[in-house]
């Protein structure tokens, strides 16, 4: 199946809206076309292709809203899905927090689509897997990996005449390469919009190097260490923190962004405009970002533009819902955006060179929240943890469990490196002092 063009999407959604008898109607057309290949023990284990196109219709009568979906597109089916959403709306309870759909909006263009990625074939995927397995076999190591690519299309139209359309491409690759005796393990990953940037042989060579280099790890005492976190090691902690950015929960006193209620006050206030982090911390979203672009509109058609969340270590904005924005007389700020963290110009090597005593962390695993109030998380290092002494990697060390909060981490910054794309975000390598490792793990 191919991706529907903007013109085709417009015509189809206009046809759907003509069937509507509701006070308001909003239609989303979404599709995903792509494929994947998985391998383990140096051989392909599964491969698959997927192709989806779905229409979601939301109808509203007064404050009652119903949603129905369908994957057939003849006229009778289109009318059926509209009628079904209207029937569901009539049966639904009134939503006290109902908000009307948006009027037409203006969007900036985001460079999210690459023809090269849309043209990936099953043979290309098999070759990419082979390029990863072959060097692993040559080095008498065992590779397990996964490659997934997709083209996604998203279009929205509503009864007030709003229309938005975007296509994007994405490629995700990761590989774990282990020694035959199970004493060493290395990992590498790549995430791009343009598949031309993917080089599974090169990424696998990083995993091979880490696998060999991590064998026979030594034990170190848990405690507070200066750490150099590769982007893969900090991305999940930062994404978790940004997911917890929400004005309503902050206003209601149940967030790390809530202030305690002051003497004589009934309700807590949020931490907007307060400095919470080291002044080098700048985290923002930007659909036009050159390396990690994202769709220029939210699922309800509201335009997304560049916005600062944290600048100079200070909380600049918090996402909210249209209802909560109106309720608190603030601007509506949609959530779920790409996360871009500014960094510096140091390479990972520069950061290692300037470290007297520290730990290099490839990635973190099984991260779970311990306290939503302090954003304390636990998890473990994995697939390449090394001791640094006097500017050099000295030897591999056993994995640690950490108990740490990104709030503390972003107050203990020693240096920031050049940001890299990972999981759709831009994250710099970071040198952090006093990172808390609480116990040792025997896992390789």
């Amino acid at each position: 199946m191919t991706i529907i063009t903007q013109q085709h999407a417009k015509e189809l959604l206009s046809k759907v809206l003509k069937f509507s008898k509701a006070d308001e109607c909003e239609c989303n057309l979404e599709s995903k076309v792509g494929g994947n290949i998985r391998y383990a023990r140096n051989t392909v284990s599964t491969s698959g292709q997927e192709s989806d196109l779905i229409l979601i219709v939301q109808s509203t009568f007064g404050k009652r809203t119903g949603t129905a979906t369908i994957n057939e597109f003849d006229n009778a089916s289109l009318e059926k899905v509209v009628r079904r959403s209207e029937e569901l709306a009539k049966l639904a309870p009134e939503n006290e927090e109902f908000m009307p759909v948006f009027a037409p909006q203006k969007y900036t263009k985001a460079n999210t689509y690459f023809e090269s990625t849309a043209a990936v074939t099953p043979e290309d995927r098999a070759q990419a897997a082979f390029d990863s397995i072959a060097p692993s076999k040559k080095n008498k190591l065992i590779a397990a990996g996964f490659l997934e690519d997709a083209v996604e299309m998203s279009a929205i139209m509503n009864s007030k005449g709003l229309f938005a359309y975007n296509t994007s491409t994405n490629v995700d690759f990761s590989v774990t390469i282990r020694t035959e005796d199970g004493k060493g393990s290395g990992w590498a990953s790549g995430n791009y919009s343009d598949v031309k940037l993917l080089d599974t042989a090169k990424l696998s060579s990083i995993a091979i190097q880490k696998s060999k280099g991590s064998a026979d790890a030594k034990e170190m005492e848990p405690g507070k260490y200066t750490v150099i976190l590769e982007p893969a090691a900090s991305v999940d902690l930062l994404q978790n923190m940004m997911r917890a950015f929400d004005q309503r929960s902050a206003d209601e006193g149940r967030s790390f962004l809530s202030n305690k209620a002051a003497e004589g006050e009934d309700a807590p206030k949020n931490k907007l405009a307060q400095k919470m982090f080291d002044e080098r911390v700048h985290i923002y979203s930007d659909p036009q970002h050159a390396i990690a672009p994202s769709a220029p509109f939210a699922g309800n058609g509201y335009p997304l533009n560049k916005i600062d969340w944290i600048k100079d270590g200070t909380i600049k904005n918090m996402p909210n819902s249209p209802y909560w924005a109106k309720h608190t007389k603030r601007e509506y700020i949609p959530s779920n955006r790409n996360i871009i963290m500014s960094g510096g110009d140091q390479s990972l090597e520069d950061m290692i060179k300037s470290t007297r005593r520290g730990v290099l962390v490839t990635r973190l695993w099984y991260i779970r929240a311990l306290d939503p109030q302090t954003l304390l998380y636990t998890g473990l290092t994995r697939d390449g943890t090394f001791y640094i002494e006097n500017g050099k990697i000295k030897y591999p060390i056993k994995n640690f469990r950490f108990n740490e909060s990104p709030i503390i981490m972003l107050n203990n910054i020693e240096a920031l490196g050049e940001p890299q794309r990972i999981e759709g975000s831009m994250i710099p390598p970071m040198k952090i002092r006093d990172f808390t490792f609480s116990s040792l793990s025997d896992a390789v």
């Binding site: 397990a144 393990s185 209601e252 473990l380």
Partner: protein
């Protein structure tokens, strides 16, 4: 050709819940539409099997599935969302040239089904170029035409929406009246109508029901906020689980109430409100070594993470190395016959026949009759969980029946069975276990859980923590998590309650594989004691 995405539940910006369920939205009435006629399913399955054989498959199976879900979400006095979904189609798996191939479609015309089977053979042939060792299947004798249904008393899909909404709103009210500032409550219902046929001569029709009713309540105090989640369990039962019968309650002196085969959600929410107020005032734990007494609604997850996952054979062999990880419980340890996984009172077993559990079926997703088998006997590792194409690697001739796929669309693979801890032959109560502890902590409910990729080092939290002094529960305490190593932990197991205390908990959305698939699995256990475990304090100043 369906939405393979996450279904959004809850209002935007308020911790929207993302569920890994695919399907199209339908009306509640359509949940009760009659399943496809069995004779027609057999006809379609035969078309698939014959088409695969004609193209050169040496084995084929076809799974025709209709997957129904209903989710109701509420917060405080409001209904957030009611979602009903349906997903139907056929998945065909084959062996050709000694290699697996799989294809699926939602278009169930005879022509489309035949083409899908042919496509599965083509995939197998293409992938066979990379294959080094041919697939070796453990034999399964065809069972002919059989059917099975989860033993339910009240089909939850038939209960009117209004009754479900009324229950959840009364749960919310009970929590708010008793000290909660906020609450969100939910009801998840699943009905899998699965038909399996294979070239071994089996035609198996199964109707599977599952239910889960969780909530999370929050109390905001002047020094911050605390949360408490529901102590009920996800189950393989009908709506009767929510009857909340008195006979199914286990009251722990000075602490919480536990639940057997029915759950009083309103009572639990009221208790949560009171316990939240106590949490706001509770003292912070002094870190150090304690004897832990773990409630079944907590210990189930420890079993899941530290026994269930490491004893999955695909992890042991390295098939999950790039995602979930491998396992410390390697084949050499098992072969030694004396690997002491736990103390000699520790007996863990797998059982997909146990009623009321999430994993309860009569046949797995490759037509293997389900059974019970030992994993750890008197503390010693004795077996793993495996599928038809894996058991030969253990020198065994019979599959354990651990194959599962989350839908017709995804290929089936090895998933965790129900894994449970046998109770003490002496029928001790939870209070009997607590009474011998001098300095300890009693933990109830599942909290934060994290374990390394080979399942050695773990750290678990909970919902409720009580200090035990000289055999008595004294105070509610806070900020507790325990850290241990799997083998050390199970070897420190020193006491178990008996059969009357044995309760079953479970995981409704357990993820594994790339692309990831969910499955549901239960774990039964009695209240159990572990000695001298390292407890840390999770409070931090930021």
């Amino acid at each position: 050709m369906e939405r393979r995405d996450f279904i959004k539940l809850g209002s935007a910006g308020m911790g929207t819940l993302m569920l890994p369920i695919s399907g199209v939205a339908i009306s509640a009435d359509q949940l009760l539409d009659k399943p496809m006629d069995v004779a027609y399913k057999k006809k379609l399955a035969d078309i698939a099997l014959n088409a695969a054989k004609a193209k050169g498959a040496t084995y084929a199976d076809a799974r025709i599935g209709r997957y129904l879900n209903q989710f109701v979400t509420t917060r405080e006095s409001r209904v957030d969302n009611i979602v009903n979904t349906e997903s139907a189609g056929i998945g065909v798996r084959v062996i050709a040239n000694g290699t697996w191939g799989f294809a699926s479609t939602s278009n169930m015309t005879p022509d489309s089904v035949a083409k899908t089977a042919e496509q599965a053979v083509a995939v197998a042939m293409a992938n066979s170029k990379f294959q080094t060792t041919p697939v070796q299947l453990a034999p399964v004798k065809g069972v002919g035409e059989v059917s099975w249904q989860t033993p339910i008393k009240k089909n939850a899909m038939e209960v009117p929406i209004q009754e479900k909404v009324d229950l959840l709103l009364s749960v919310n009210d009970a929590a708010m009246q008793n000290g909660a500032s906020f609450i969100s409550s939910r009801l998840f219902l699943v009905n899998e109508q699965k038909y399996f046929a294979s070239t071994d001569g089996s035609y198996i029709d199964q109707d599977i029901h599952r239910l889960w009713a969780p909530f999370t309540a929050t109390a905001v105090g002047k020094d911050g906020f605390k949360q408490r989640s529901a102590l009920g369990n996800p189950v393989g039962m009908g709506y009767e689980y929510l009857d909340g019968l008195e006979k199914d309650k286990v009251r722990i002196q000075g602490a919480n109430t536990g639940y057997h085969n029915s759950y009083d959600m309103v009572e639990d929410a009221a208790a949560a409100g009171k316990q939240l107020q106590a949490k706001l005032k509770a003292k912070s734990v002094e870190p150090g070594k304690y004897d832990l007494v773990l409630d079944p609604a907590h210990l189930m997850l420890t079993i899941h993470e530290s026994v269930g996952h490491p004893l999955e054979l695909d992890r042991v062999l390295g098939y999950e190395a790039n995602y979930a990880g491998t396992s410390f419980a390697t084949l050499d340890k098992w072969k030694s016959g004396n690997f002491q996984y736990g103390s000699d009172i520790v007996n863990l077993y797998a059982d997909k026949n146990q009623p009321h559990t999430l994993g309860n079926v009569a046949f797995d997703d490759e037509g293997v009759k389900t059974k019970e088998w030992e994993l750890i006997k008197n503390g010693v590792l004795v077996n793993y969980q495996a599928t038809r194409d894996q058991v030969h690697m253990l020198g065994q001739k019979e599959s354990h029946g651990c194959s599962y796929s989350q839908s017709w669309r995804d290929v089936q693979f090895q998933r965790m069975s129900n894994v449970s801890l046998r109770p003490n032959e002496k029928d001790l109560s939870a209070d009997d276990v607590i009474k011998d502890v001098e300095k300890g902590i009693y933990i109830a409910g599942r909290g934060s859980y994290s374990i390394d990729q080979q399942r050695y080092n773990f750290q678990f939290g909970g919902q409720l923590f009580y200090e035990i002094k000289d055999g008595k529960i004294v105070d509610q305490i806070e900020d507790v998590a325990y850290q241990s190593n799997t083998q050390e932990f199970w070897n420190s197991c020193s006491q178990l309650a008996g059969k009357s205390d044995y309760r079953v908990g479970g995981s409704f959305f357990d993820g594994k594989g790339q692309p990831s698939q969910v499955s549901a699995v239960s774990h039964g256990c009695p209240t159990t004691r572990f000695d001298n475990i390292n407890v840390i304090n999770t409070a931090r100043n930021v």
